[in-house]
């Protein structure tokens, strides 16, 4: 199984250890992992800011880098969701349906001529890949700490990594299931199971006041329940919460789920 490793730009630049953990974890589980060196960014920061029409360069690059793999895996629900939803091939109705698209002209102002649909079907967020493709039943990992799980919205509500509190449907959580395989790890609870942390891409600066308040409240909920570490499937949420924790000189820390699942 040949896996293309997609490391989102901010992980590449600020949290290389998350990329390393993802790579090691996948290799441990028997995957042949290749990191295409010319990758940069999925284009989401521009698209979510309304500049989807600028992202053709990123789209082209992404397709060039990631064509020909059996799977593409990234330690980010948000970037994976963006690729799934907004890297369409022109007129490819089935890809649109799979990604939940409306079947109308793509609002980004254009569509990628080819390759998009193929990639949308092959790209997986790490936890989703471990659960649904590798079908992991046990893990050789230990992390003897109290850990609070932050459900990053795009992974949860976009990729359905876990049940959403708004829906009247049976609960499940792919990240929680994997974390329960880690020796010594104690999951702490939350008053509000799946409230957004307030990162939101450029929202974190354009709506600074609300973004910070949301982050403070999310962090407080975790600390109230005794979390020593906050983990998530998205480093962007954790970067935001880490910024708040460090500003308040909290002893609580953040750790990407790949690092926890890869710890010995």
């Amino acid at each position: 199984m040949r896996v293309g490793l997609f490391i989102p730009c901010y992980i590449d630049q600020f949290y290389p250890q998350v990329g390393v953990a993802t790579l090691q974890l996948l290799e441990k589980l028997g995957c042949e992992v290749v990191y295409p060196p010319d990758q940069t960014c999925c284009g989401q920061p521009m698209a979510n800011s309304g500049f989807g029409h600028l992202t053709h360069g990123c789209n082209d690059l992404f397709i060039k880098n990631f064509s020909g793999f059996d799977y593409i895996v990234a330690p980010s629900g948000s970037c994976v969701l963006h690729i799934k939803e907004h890297l369409h091939g022109e007129g490819d109705a089935s890809a649109k349906q799979a990604a939940g698209g409306a079947g109308s002209k793509h609002p980004d102002g254009g569509e990628h001529p080819d390759g998009g649909a193929d990639i949308a079907g092959k790209i997986f967020e790490l936890v989703e890949f471990l659960t649904d493709i590798l079908k992991i039943e046990r893990l050789d990992a230990a992390f003897p700490h109290k850990v609070g799980l932050h459900q990053s919205c795009h992974g949860q509500r976009g990729l359905h990594l876990a049940q959403m509190s708004e829906l009247m449907a049976p609960p499940f959580s792919k990240p929680e299931r994997l974390l329960s395989m880690v020796k010594g790890l104690e999951l702490t609870g939350l008053d509000r199971l799946d409230e957004c942390c307030g990162f939101g891409g450029t929202f974190c600066v354009t709506e600074e006041a609300v973004s910070v308040k949301m982050g403070k409240d999310r962090v407080a909920d975790h600390i109230k329940h005794g979390a020593e570490f906050i983990t998530a499937c998205d480093m962007s949420c954790l970067m935001h919460m880490e910024g708040i924790l460090r500003r308040h000189k909290s002893t609580a820390r953040v750790k990407h789920i790949a690092e926890i699942l890869n710890s010995q």
Partner: protein
């Protein structure tokens, strides 16, 4: 003056709201409590998700055959003895209401349950014509006395603490200063409003659902003020957006089960009043208002926002709304649904609203008619930027960022130890003020990027 006339953008208004953190906490917790009540109520209906799906499909049908249902409704209503009016926009709506008042030589009116008249600016319009309009629903009356617009479409004065309401009543209704006992204040309001009900000859109400099959309409209230107003007045004017139709009476069973559970967590409103024909001697008018809706209907990406039944579940669940307050949306209908409806009415004035969201998606999940609210927020962003309403600074930053991110060579050169990133990444986009750093530490750039680590460890 009403705040939304002094227009500032959502972020600025939200920042003002956030200066008082304990108040933000109170507002957030109050509305979260309503969201939780909704969860409990919905969880008691085993077929909840099927109900949402059914409601969504019924509304799909309505939107696809709107002109036919409107004609059917008009015909049935006229047969019932109701006078039906068509208003293309807010100005026509206001003129129709005014002409009815003039014909009856009336200069005062009671009103209940109508966000549409907020949308049309009816109160201000009639005020200028010398007509005294009294909003009779308690929350509406509170904000009316305070000279403010509602901050929430179901709970209009949810931003006011009871002590503040006590002071407003003291000032306007002469209750003792310092008395903030809700029971006492409600009683005072009741006495004050009773006099209005008994002396007003015209009552205006909103409409929650209009039934094409029968020409009847349903008004859902908890206080019964719509009934009190309509039953005591010689003239009942009911105003509705053209999207409020359901095809048949039996469809009400789906919507009435969803509406109040989604809104407040009650199984149903205290009163679900069906109005079908005027009582002998009474005049009944229905005003059907377009005001941009038919244009909206022609936009495939956005039309299904017209399914909205105004339950406000998306307000209560929205983590941004709860922490920014309703007035930060500077429109009659705020919150997530307002952020996708308002750009339709006035793109320039409301260009900020689709950005007042993290796109977390909670709104779409609570929506009883399954409007894909967060997807439409994303789509509006694309439209707004393409039409040129993006701030110039943001545009320049995005173009630079895109240029670098499209060129691996530039990215690798720029990205050494994160220096370029610290200046240009999304979260530092307005680096002049560095909105990230004001209340958050920056990430610490590591010694090497993942790409550099990979090259050293895997390629050598």
């Amino acid at each position: 003056m009403r705040p939304h006339n002094n227009h500032t953008d959502h972020a600025a208004l939200a920042a003002i709201f956030n200066r008082d953190e304990p108040r933000v906490d109170w507002h957030d917790q109050t509305l979260w409590w309503v969201r939780r009540k909704r969860d409990v109520a919905a969880s008691k209906v085993p077929e909840w998700e099927q109900l949402r799906e059914a409601a969504s499909r019924i509304k799909d049908n309505v939107l696809s055959h709107l002109s036919g249902y409107l004609a059917q409704f008009e015909e049935a209503a006229m047969r019932n003895g109701v006078k039906v009016h068509w208003a293309a926009d807010a100005a026509e709506h206001n003129a129709i209401v005014y002409s009815i008042l003039q014909r009856h030589r009336v200069d005062r009116m009671v009103k209940s349950k109508s966000m549409l008249t907020e949308e049309c600016g009816l109160n201000e319009f009639l005020h200028e014509k010398g007509i005294d309009v009294v909003d009779t629903d308690l929350g509406e009356r509170v904000v009316q006395l305070a000279g403010e617009p509602p901050s929430h479409i179901v709970l209009p004065c949810i931003h006011k603490k009871k002590e503040e309401i006590g002071e407003i009543f003291h000032e306007h209704l002469g209750t003792p200063s310092g008395n903030a006992d809700p029971k006492f204040l409600t009683h005072a309001a009741r006495l004050h409003l009773r006099e209005k009900f008994l002396t007003r000859r015209v009552a205006l109400t909103g409409i929650n659902f209009a039934v094409a099959e029968t020409g009847e309409f349903v008004v859902c209230t908890n206080e019964g003020n719509a009934d009190m107003g309509a039953h005591l007045a010689d003239v009942h004017i009911a105003c509705m957006g053209i999207e409020k139709l359901v095809p048949e009476r039996r469809h009400l069973g789906v919507f009435l089960r969803l509406l109040t559970r989604s809104a407040t967590g009650q199984p149903i409103t205290t009163y679900s009043s069906h109005f079908r024909r005027p009582r002998p001697g009474q005049e009944m008018h229905v005003v059907l208002v377009d005001n941009g809706r038919s244009v909206h209907l022609g936009r495939p990406d956005f039309r299904n926002s017209l399914k909205c039944i105004r339950c406000a579940a998306c307000f209560n669940t929205c983590p941004v709304y709860r922490r920014s307050g309703g007035h930060s949306y500077h429109t009659a209908v705020g919150g997530p649904i307002g952020s996708i409806l308002s750009p339709n009415f006035d793109r320039e004035k409301n260009a900020d609203l689709p950005f007042a969201s993290t796109l977390c998606g909670s709104c779409s999940n609570v929506c009883p008619v399954k409007i894909d609210i967060h997807q439409q927020l994303y789509k509006w962003r694309q439209v707004i930027v393409r039409e040129g309403y993006a701030p110039v600074v943001k545009k320049a930053a995005m173009q630079t960022m895109n240029w670098v991110l499209s060129n691996p060579g530039l990215y690798h050169a720029a990205g050494k130890t994160g220096r370029w990133f610290l200046l240009h990444v999304p979260f530092a986009v307005n680096n002049g003020l560095n909105a990230w750093y004001r209340q958050r530490e920056m990430p610490e750039p590591p010694k090497q990027s993942f790409g550099e680590w990979y090259k050293k460890n895997k390629h050598e």
